[in-house]
């Protein structure tokens, strides 16, 4: 057995410390070590985006990223979207616009959407489609996901204006 490494990873506002195998994938750290199973594993090859999480605010695919690479860094997953029991506008958008069916791609899809909207608060349809092009959905045909992200963009801008 290879030597383990001690990592501190900031996960959704808390810190998770553990001794991990250097080959442990971040997705397995999040799901199995930290027990936050909202992030899913879909393809193992960085292709489907079900495992998308934010690393220091940028989307990465956690199925091809080692936990040790995330040592000392900040990870946000779907579990970090809800604040004080209130849904994030992206979560609301997915519900209101029927942007999900089986729900398996949804956590990763929402994290990509969040990264997109933080960078580009008012994206066009084409920009949204490119923004989620690293995330596959087999159920919805994307049309309602695009609407859901538009819904969130509008809502987030209204909130920003009100604040």
């Amino acid at each position: 057995m290879a030597k383990t490494h001690h990592v501190h990873i900031q996960l959704n506002g808390g810190t998770k410390e553990a001794d991990v195998d250097p080959r442990l994938l971040l997705i397995h750290f999040i799901r199995d070590v930290a027990g936050q199973t909202g992030t899913h594993l879909g393809c193992d090859t960085t292709s489907c985006g079900a495992c998308t999480v934010l690393l220091d605010g940028r989307p990465i695919k956690s199925c091809t990223f080692f936990a040790v690479q995330a040592d000392g860094r900040k990870i946000q997953t779907v579990e970090g979207l809800t604040h004080d029991g209130k849904l994030h506008p992206i979560q609301e958008g997915f519900h209101q616009e029927h942007g999900l069916q089986c729900g398996f791609c949804t956590p990763g899809m929402m994290m990509s959407a969040l990264a997109l909207l933080e960078k580009n608060p008012n994206p066009t349809e084409e920009e949204i489609r490119w923004g989620i092009s690293g995330n596959l959905c087999r159920c919805t045909g994307y049309q309602n996901i695009v609407k859901a992200i538009r819904y969130a963009a509008t809502k987030m801008q209204q909130k920003g204006a009100a604040a």
Partner: protein
């Protein structure tokens, strides 16, 4: 006619937002891989690198040295327990773990179990298997050649031929084809592809040696049927098996069969007395479980000069891979493929299918499809276009001329199915109008003058769903009914349980809407549960668009049983006779005195507190619904494409989809199903392919090689609807999930062929890649 209910009740026709969303958008879904039990250990499958090889020896010594190693199970171990083979759903058997030889690449050879997931994978690397390579058979057209290697040594018949099946009148069809003025012919391959739900297959098998109870969390579209199969095959008393289908990350037919990995996990749990988790990797999913299609088809249509069709003849070669593991419960080897006359009034028809073995993964499953209806719809819709070109007729006009007339329903087709209802011209005319068809044709003519390539493809499909009536369908003899149990609580709230299992279809939302419609209890007051065989009534599961036609019928009928009892209680409370009462969703009232009424909630309370003499307490019912016939949804799809002459790239500019699925429970969910099914059709038409090289190596065995559409390639779908209720269904509904996947591949292909038809192109096999189109353009001198 559906009685309109208020938004508060939320019966049929309301676009109710989904109840299941709350957990999924907050990362609180509970999929199989989220199940974590104390003491749980992990399994990993050792797979064959060869397509065909003799298994000489297996050495597990080094594998067992891995820290955390618990066991390696081999085919020999299973053979000792009589479990090396398991029956398939269609009169064949398949190896659980290989004994003697392997028959396809990625076939299951051994099962390693360790305390940690990574250790189990390490073990699999260290299992040493000695193989002797054998000649490989990948081309189904060569399976019956005299020199072909015989793959299945276990069978008495020394041939790769599995079955011959035919239906219809061979002689009369032959005569009609000889006598016809025109015969249009198309050879079309519906390629081997894979449903690829985003969640792969997996299970957690937990045998408790103290209680003797085996609990299996399973990615199962049919948990009750799977429980019975585990009992029959494994010899475990059925009351000691509990199958739980938790949240499922998409199924599309992939999760209908029982796979070797499940059986291995169960065996390992029985052996070790610990819970064993096995989750497929994506490569394992694409390479070994759940392939679909692989039908090599020829259609000939005979017609008069004016375009009136006279006869259809279909000949098909079906590649089933190493084992006939077709996950289909019909009594016919090619399932419902004989729906191949489609929407057209053919006086004569004949269809024959031969199945063969090859060194490929076993199957095939019905990928968002009622057991080969997708292949059938694709073939007839392609053939109609070829006929239109041969006759120089507009493909829309040809279809309108040959549709089964609306006044001929119920319609007995020449291959034996009785279509319940239809109004094909209505759907076609709406689609033509939405598309602006005439203008599109004008635009195309102008573009052609300029040398630009634009195509318009039409598909007017007829579906056959709702498996199914007991005389035509069964799984190991079990009739294909489905069930619903409803319990009304004293406060008028309710719980319903069904024998089906949602995989994203939104059952937790839609089935309460049926109950709300039938009983007037607000849909939000009704909880729906599925997927736990210890609590739900027996049913055959969710696939082939059967939940609404079958379990939907059961839900309406169970509700009506409750309403019958409620009427008796209301009569007692209002001190009138039952005949004096009238019903509207939510209350019984006295005829002519609407203020004298009892709500369903008051009646529910009385069912526990104030009953007529001699009546049993409680308000609940269960119904097992055996449908009298299948349902036949239909629609017309129109696809518009532009082709880039330089690259061969096809851009889907527009796609108009008019669907008729009878009465609609929730229009939001129906539209979502259509969007999703069309996108899967797009994937099949342009991208998805599982192929094999000459050595039997699978190509397309991961998401880097198996292409799926992203949001960028997927167009906006334009949807429309007509409504022709099913006359035999309790709520007039037909089912919709698979229609867009059944109807759309032909629309895409017809559009591409249409763009190239003036160059003499009549057919292109799927997937239509830019490379294929570019080669055609080169051949035709178009640059």
């Amino acid at each position: 006619m559906i009685f309109p209910t208020s938004p508060e009740i939320g019966g049929m026709g309301h676009a109710v937002k989904r109840k299941e969303d709350a957990r999924f958008i907050q990362g609180k879904g509970n999929y199989v891989d989220d199940v974590h039990l104390p003491g749980m250990v992990f399994g990993h499958v050792v797979r064959s690198p060869y397509g065909h090889a003799r298994l000489k020896s297996i050495n597990i010594e080094n594998a067992m040295k891995v820290p955390g190693a618990l066991a390696v199970i081999t085919g020999a171990d299973l053979a000792a327990a009589g479990l090396a083979w398991m029956p398939t759903l269609f009169h064949d058997k398949q190896m659980v773990l290989a004994t003697g030889k392997v028959l396809f690449q990625a076939q299951e050879v051994a099962f390693c179990v360790a305390t940690e997931q990574y250790a189990a994978a390490d073990m699999a690397e260290l299992v040493e298997v000695d193989y002797e390579e054998l000649p490989v058979l990948v081309d189904p057209h060569k399976a019956l050649d005299p020199g072909a290697p015989i793959l299945r040594e276990d069978r008495e018949e020394k041939t790769n031929h599995i079955f011959h099946w035919e239906v219809g009148d061979r002689q009369e069809t032959q005569k009609a084809i000889q006598a016809g003025a025109v015969t249009a012919k198309v050879d079309a391959v519906f390629q081997r592809c894979h449903p690829a739900p985003l969640e792969t297959c997996g299970c957690v098998a937990d045998f408790n040696p103290v209680t003797g109870k085996l609990t299996i969390w399973l990615t199962s579209q049919a948990p009750h049927a799977h429980r019975t199969l585990f009992a029959l095959v494994g010899g475990i008393p059925e009351q000691n098996i509990r199958v739980i289908s938790p949240d499922i990350g998409g199924g599309f037919g992939n999760k209908v069969p029982i796979y070797p990995g499940y059986v291995c996990a169960v065996v390992a749990s029985l052996k070790l007395g610990k819970p064993v988790k096995w989750i497929e990797s994506r490569s394992e999913n694409l390479q070994s479980t759940g392939f679909a299609r692989d039908y090599h088809m020829t259609a000939e249509i005979s017609a008069d000069r004016d375009g009136t069709v006279k006869a259809l003849r279909v000949k098909t070669l079906a590649d089933h891979g190493a084992f006939n593991a077709a996950a289909q419960p019909s009594k016919f080897p090619a399932g419902l493929f004989s729906i191949c006359t489609g929407s057209y009034d053919f006086p004569k028809a004949f269809c024959e299918v031969d199945g063969v073995y090859t060194n490929k993964a076993p199957g095939g499953i019905a990928y968002r499809c009622s057991f080969r209806v997708t292949e059938a719809a694709y073939l007839i819709e392609r053939a109609m276009d070829v006929l239109a070109y041969d006759l120089k007729m507009d493909p829309a006009e040809l279809r309108l001329k040959n549709f089964i007339p609306s006044d001929k329903f119920p319609y007995l087709c020449p291959l034996g199915w009785t279509y319940d209802s239809g109004d094909y011209p209505a759907a076609m005319n709406l689609a033509l109008k939405m598309a602006g068809y005439e203008d599109l044709r004008k635009e195309q003519a102008e573009k052609r003058k300029k040398g630009e390539l634009m195509g318009i493809g039409i598909s007017s499909f007829t579906e056959i769903v709702g498996a199914g009536p007991a005389h035509t369908f069964d799984i190991v003899g079990i009739k294909m009914f489905d069930s619903c149990e409803i319990r009304i609580h004293p406060t008028g709230k309710a719980i319903a349980r069904l024998g089906t299992k949602s995989q994203g279809q939104g059952h937790e939302t839609t089935f309460p809407q049926i109950i709300a419609q039938e009983l007037g209890i607000p849909q939000q007051d009704i909880i729906l549960e599925e997927g736990d065989t210890d609590t739900a009534p027996y049913g055959l599961g969710t696939y082939a668009s059967r939940s609404t036609p079958v379990a939907g019928g059961a839900t309406a009928m169970a509700s009506r049983k409750i309403r019958d009892k409620a009427r008796k209680i209301a009569a007692h409370l209002l001190e009138v006779s039952e005949e004096d009462l009238e019903w509207e969703p939510g209350k019984f009232f006295v005829k002519g005195a609407p203020s004298k009424a009892k709500t369903i909630q008051e009646i529910a309370f009385a069912a526990y507190t104030n009953l007529p003499d001699g009546m049993e307490a409680g308000l609940e019912a269960v119904h097992y619904y055996d449908p009298p016939n299948l349902t036949f949804p239909f629609g017309t799809y129109i696809c518009v494409v532009d082709i880039d002459k330089g690259t061969g790239e096809v851009k889907v500019r527009r796609f108009i989809a008019v669907d008729d699925c009878g009465n609609i429970i929730n229009p939001m969910i129906v539209e979502g199903q259509i969007h999703g099914g069309l996108t899967e059709g797009l994937a099949i038409a342009f991208m998805q392919l599982i192929s094999y090289d000459e050595s039997g190596n699978v190509q397309g065995g991961n998401f880097m090689d198996y292409l799926l559409p992203t949001a960028v390639e997927t167009p906006n779908w334009e949807t429309g609807k007509t409504c022709t209720p099913s006359p035999h269904h309790p709520i007039g509904a037909k089912g919709v999930g698979e229609s867009p996947n059944v109807g759309s591949p032909a629309a895409f292909v017809n559009a591409v062929v249409d763009a190239l038809s003036h160059l003499g192109v009549r057919h292109i096999d799927m997937p239509i890649t830019p490379w294929k189109v570019w080669q055609i353009l080169q051949e035709k001198g178009i640059t």
